[in-house]
């Protein structure tokens, strides 16, 4: 992975008020910047990204190069739309910022957004392109909004700055429905530096975690292992649930939907676990349940919540009985938990301890009965399976 210090130049001139890129050119730049910064820092934790606002009284370095994505998000919110684009000075200031970077081993890069018609002369642009090349700074230009008028000047800038294909010009014409961040994602801006990994981040980046587990083996082998194990467990659970649900004809349709949602949720799950340590494998089962809640109707949500809380309460009971953690993991199959559920007094006491629940509410009592019946059914089926396995 390339070690890189990058300064992103944003066009915050009045031409960015234009709404041809929804919602307007300025905001689509902000989006793209957040995306670019996130991707670069994800590729390598030591990469730094800075932001420079090109328009206004003078070009303003809004954010000095940092490897903290949070700072990038904060800084982009502070930028105002004002004034006219001052391209040459902006590039020179960016050059200065890169020259004084903290780690000299970082490769230097500028990413520049241009959304205004350029007034600078072509010769001046060529001169600054050569200057960048001399200082071994590579530059990527994203030309959008005023593409035809700027195309020639910007391509001559890129030609002069290019040495060995490290500079790119991305032109995004104004047509309906094009989203700037998507265009950037699919372009060569990232694939050249990282060898093709950039494209994968688009889908899973929303969650803010590792993309598809591809980074893990190199960066953090333990985390990769944990993710793999949880994937396996999830698949086993799903296949088990699938078998049970196929037998139960009433719930067949809704569970197909559940499975699809589970597949989608798998990805979001991986992302949400990016900060978890190894110990969290045991909490795996509970996390799955919580993430499923959003996809289900209110009734089913209630069911699940009741189920989970009852199981938790059952766990606490077991702890008091002095059982070890390993045995708690098999709580679903443990007959003592099932017995605890059957005990109405215990169930009532548990319900009272839950906030906002009226134990005498009819719906709740009905759902509890349903849960008990389901659990009993599951128990029986599991016992049948165990017997079959033994026979084999």
């Amino acid at each position: 992975m390339v070690l890189e210090a990058c300064v992103i130049l944003i066009d915050n001139s009045n031409h960015s008020r234009n709404g041809d890129f929804a919602p307007n050119r300025f905001l689509s730049q902000i989006d793209s910047i957040n995306f670019i910064a996130g991707t670069k820092i994800q590729q390598n934790r030591v990469n730094t990204v800075g932001i420079l606002a090109m328009s206004g009284r003078r070009p303003n370095l809004v954010l000095a190069p940092t490897n903290d994505v949070g700072q990038v998000l904060i800084a982009t919110n502070k930028i105002q739309i004002e004034g006219k684009l001052d391209l040459i000075s902006s590039i020179e200031i960016a050059q200065l910022s890169l020259k004084h970077r903290s780690n000299k081993e970082h490769a230097q890069r500028i990413v520049m957004f241009v959304a205004s018609p350029l007034e600078e002369k072509k010769e001046d642009l060529e001169k600054i392109g050569s200057q960048l090349r001399k200082a071994s700074i590579s530059i990527d230009v994203i030309n959008f909004g005023e593409t035809e008028r700027n195309e020639e000047k910007l391509s001559s800038l890129i030609d002069n700055a290019n040495s060995g294909d490290n500079c790119h010009l991305l032109s995004v014409p104004t047509s309906t429905g094009l989203i700037l961040a998507d265009q950037i994602q699919g372009s060569g801006i990232f694939s050249s530096s990282s060898g093709g990994m950039g494209g994968d981040f688009g889908g899973s980046f929303g969650g803010g975690g590792y993309g598809g587990g591809m980074v893990d083996p190199n960066v953090d082998p333990e985390l990769a292992m944990v993710l793999q194990m949880s994937l396996e467990e999830e698949r086993q659970r799903q296949s088990r649930l699938q078998q049970e649900n196929n037998n139960n004809s009433n719930e067949k349709e809704s569970n197909d939907q559940k499975e699809e949602k589970k597949m989608d949720l798998e990805e979001t799950e991986k992302e949400s676990q990016n900060s978890n340590q190894n110990e969290n494998i045991e909490q795996e089962g509970e996390d799955d349940m919580f993430s499923q809640l959003e996809g289900l109707t209110e009734e089913e949500q209630m069911e699940l919540i009741m189920k989970m809380s009852l199981e938790e309460m059952g766990n606490q009971e077991l702890e008091q009985l002095g059982m070890t953690k390993e045995e708690e993991e098999e709580k679903e199959k443990d007959p003592e938990v099932q017995n605890a559920l059957q005990d109405e007094d215990l169930v009532d006491s548990i319900l009272l301890s839950l906030p906002g629940v009226d134990p005498e509410n009819e719906e709740i009592t009905e759902t509890i009965k349903n849960i008990k019946n389901e659990d009993n059914d599951k128990d029986q089926k599991e016992k049948e399976k165990e017997k079959e396995n033994e026979n084999d």
């Binding site: 050569s130 001399k134 200082a135 060995g164």
Partner: protein, 167 residues
């Protein structure tokens, strides 16, 4: 008199660089011992800037610049020392510690170019700005650069022995 040595072992190659060289060329082409096989060729124009970082402070006695005699060898060499983040802008605006106009014989035969040692008695980094070349063309080529001098007295770790061994 103290012996002057080739300071090649005192050079911190990782933090040394050459600006405006062609993309895949490395500073080791001209600073390492295997001379004459690798060059540094200028890229955008005929100027070259070589920043040499030393591992410790040194006193510089002289320098040898080797190049071809075909007009691609450098002519005007400006020497700066102990600068931070030295680029072409600084090279053209600051006053150099030394200015040399190299002649063809000096670079083809590898003659010593003497520095005023008084001025170079405490050098942490040396910056050589080759402003133009002998032929006036667009490309400048350098084969080898050798810095001659003596490292300043600093703790020599290999000489530190435990008390028992001295007995």
């Amino acid at each position: 008199m103290t012996e002057f040595v080739d300071l090649i072992n005192s050079i911190d190659l990782k933090n040394s660089e050459c600006l405006n060289s062609e993309p895949n060329q490395e500073i080791t082409n001209i600073l390492k011992e295997d001379e004459d096989t690798n060059f540094i060729t200028s890229d955008t124009d005929e100027q070259l800037l070589v920043n040499i970082q030393f591992k410790q402070k040194v006193r510089v006695h002289s320098i040898i610049v080797r190049a071809e005699g075909d007009g691609t060898g450098p002519q005007m060499m400006k020497v700066f020392q102990n600068q931070f983040s030295f680029g072409f802008e600084e090279a053209q605006s600051l006053k150099p510690t030394h200015k040399f106009k190299l002649i063809k014989r000096a670079i083809t035969e590898g003659k010593l170019i003497r520095f005023k040692m008084v001025r170079f008695s405490n050098v942490g980094s040396l910056h050589l700005f080759f402003e133009n070349n002998l032929g006036g063309g667009k490309v400048t080529k350098i084969k080898q650069i050798t810095v001659v001098g003596v490292p300043l007295e600093t703790a020599n770790i290999s000489k530190i022995q435990s008390v028992e061994e001295k007995k």
